[in-house]
Symmetry: C2
Subunit: 152 residues, 2 copies
């Protein structure tokens, strides 16, 4: 068909493929979350809050999510207003606020998880479970390698 591809075709650029694939997953996930009043961002925060029984500091949230701390403020505000998480004072540092999931937060997570997984699975499509594992491993190494790249 086309004059297909020299070594430097955009279609073969890892960065481009990453951005493109990410976009597809974000859209699919948002579509699965829209009926719950969540978006992929706030959903991620909710998950992290659920994972930490003691709560997570907003600073750590920003670090893990690769966001600017100021963005985390709004996300937590939103979730807190919905009663899904709450800010607890840290008894170790009065500056720190630990974000923890409420009962409602845990409940919603349990209810939403399968739907999000289904949406993700649909995007993963024809990849075998071995390939999915491989992909997860490779991406994990890319992400965790740079312990740093605080967006701001």
């Amino acid at each position: 068909m086309e004059p297909t591809v020299n070594a430097h075709a955009l279609n073969d650029d890892v960065g481009f493929l990453l951005s493109r694939a990410s976009g597809l997953f974000v859209r699919a996930t948002n579509a699965a979350l829209v009926s719950y009043g969540l978006r992929v961002r706030s959903y991620s925060v909710l998950l992290l809050a659920c994972e930490a029984t003691e709560g997570v500091s907003q600073r750590d949230l920003a670090e893990v999510l690769g966001l600017d701390p100021s963005q985390v403020v709004l996300l937590v505000d939103e979730l807190a207003e919905s009663g899904l998480v709450e800010r607890r004072p840290s008894d170790q540092d009065r500056r720190t606020k630990l974000v923890a999931a409420t009962e409602a937060g845990h409940t919603l997570r349990v209810r939403v998880l399968p739907e999000v997984d289904a949406a993700v699975a649909a995007q993963l499509g024809d990849l075998t479970s071995t390939e999915q594992f491989l992909l997860r491993d490779l991406l994990g190494r890319l992400v965790r390698r740079t312990g740093s790249t605080p967006p701001a």
Copy 2:
């Protein structure tokens, strides 16, 4: 086993890893491009314009990049103002405008390519070339599988 995994930890979520990795690459690429007055978006358009000797319709650009056509307008406007691409009429369809790279566009591409590749390589870090090939293949399948997902 199962519906594909999920330790249920956000760190193991493919969608999250994808989004995170994408962010890292976009930032690294933008940093490499900033001194040329380009961003990752316009750079992608420039590459596609360079790849097609006859030019690419803006509709096709939107399709390939996963963007809304209205976004493409501004990107092409910007590149055209910089003299890197130009809009040519199509002799097959008077509605269509074919975006093609100018001499300056091709020149800039050649000059910038190695820098972007270096930035990407830095992000790929410790992945072996085999792993990089594998990653590219897996991502390519994810992206191309959904021939559709026009953002708008």
